[in-house]
């Protein structure tokens, strides 16, 4: 369970699912759940169920990606056909291609891949069940998997979205809020430095509202970051 850090960004109103405006959904992260992968993580937030796995660094067998001075990352975000209400056709669509790209870009700054020239790190994010905010949750899970794989990194990237629902700025939108809401702002940060590695915005926001949403999303990221660290500790302390 996540405890709420109350701050004065938002009012005390309740949301449809009973959460406060700045409250994230119940969150659970487990590291190292797959045997074959070099690193893996399982994440549940609200109704989302997400698996992330990492292979590498391994020699880049794709010639055009090979870089003589550094390693590279590849990311694949994939939804299970049964993860959504109407069966999704298997395979990549335009949405998952875009998410794959921005996820790789969100994570890349945290990794010290210069130490692995000519190599490649593969990140796979599998959405087993989707309930709003999968891209951020995918990034969060992927970072835990990367850490579990022992890949040198400056920080564990963490993602969280904020948005606008019924005119209020809220944290960590559920599927319903995402559908009915007016805006969605997914954000990922490196919590140690606060640098932002992912930012999108979909919907209508005023300048003030955007500012509020961004601050709120960063607060959410920081909370989730603690759960990420716990997950790693649980994996390696036992």
């Amino acid at each position: 369970m996540i405890f709420i850090i109350t701050n004065d960004i938002v009012s005390n109103k309740e949301r449809e699912d009973g959460r406060k405006l700045d409250e994230i959904r119940p969150l659970k992260i487990e590291a190292g759940i797959l045997k074959r992968a070099d690193g893996s993580a399982y994440l549940e937030v609200g109704g989302n169920k997400i698996l992330a796995a990492v292979y590498g660094p391994r020699e880049s067998y794709i010639r055009r990606l090979l870089r003589p001075d550094t390693g590279v990352i590849r990311c694949r975000y994939n939804m299970a056909p049964f993860s959504v209400d109407d069966r999704k056709r298997p395979g990549p669509d335009r949405r998952s291609i875009e998410i794959s790209k921005i996820t790789a870009e969100a994570i890349r700054p945290s990794l010290l891949l210069e130490r692995f020239p000519r190599s490649m790190v593969d990140i796979f994010i599998e959405i087993i069940e989707a309930e709003g905010g999968t891209r951020c949750a995918g990034i969060t899970a992927a970072s835990v998997a990367l850490a579990d794989a022992g890949i040198p990194m400056k920080d564990m990237v963490v993602g969280c979205a904020a948005g606008k629902v019924d005119g209020e700025i809220v944290l960590d939108l559920s599927e319903k809020e995402d559908k009915e809401g007016q805006a969605d702002v997914p954000v990922a940060i490196m919590p140690r430095t606060g640098e932002i590695t992912l930012l999108q915005s979909d919907g209508n926001l005023t300048e003030d509202e955007f500012d509020k949403a961004l601050c709120l999303a960063i607060e959410g990221c920081k909370q989730i970051s603690e759960v990420q660290k716990e997950a790693l500790k649980n994996r390696y302390e036992a």
Binding site: K35, R36, A37, G47, A53, F82, S83, E126
Partner: protein, 262 residues
Amino acid sequence: MNIIPEITRQSITNLINNNERADGRAVDEYRDIVIETNLVSKAEGSARVKLGNTQIIVGAKPQIGEPFPDTPNVGVLMTNSEMLPIADPKFEPGPPSESSVELARVVDRCVRESEMVDLEKLCIEEGKKVWMIFIDLHIIDYDGNLFDAAMFAVMAALMNTKLPIAEYKNDEIIIDEDATMDLPLKDKATMSTFVKIGDKMILDPSLDEESILDARLSIGITESGNICAMQKGGDGPLSKEDILSAVKTTYSKKDELLKYLK
């Protein structure tokens, strides 16, 4: 395929020749089986199966569609498998590989030929609308013997699949999402997979054992005791005795396996 050092190959083979295995199992012993159902609430039926370290998630989703013209009064079953790149360093994203297609087709055959699903009850209006059940296999951790794990997962998912009640009135489908019915099942099936290493048939091969197999044989069997599917794989031959002994073991293991599907 996995590259196995010659020394591992020899040690596995030597063990098996002495009726022993690297993980201490008997030659006709399964690894631990764990089945968990209804883990994906957006899927009408779902299951996760762990067979040793092999893990598969299966989701079943019904959709309303048109029946095939030659079978206007029966529903449709479709099985699809994705060997996700998270499951093995050699699995690549992209169109399904040969082995992925084989897996889906063998499981599909086992479900279909066992006639476990009462397809006639999936008919909503003859010649117009039927339920189509999509079974999607998600391979998430590959440590050998996907066939048996997949069949377990599919069976467990189908046994927990709920269909909305659909009615056909005046050229329209009325779906009652609240009133659901169980997917009509008439039988159950399990699968047992053997690999031939040296001159022995080994049940439930691990990844290392699969990597050095001469031949593979998967046998699907129904609760009622019929062999409903069979598939040989691998480059080597099997003798008639090999096959008959595998069939015998499959029959003797049936009840043990069905216990997991209560």
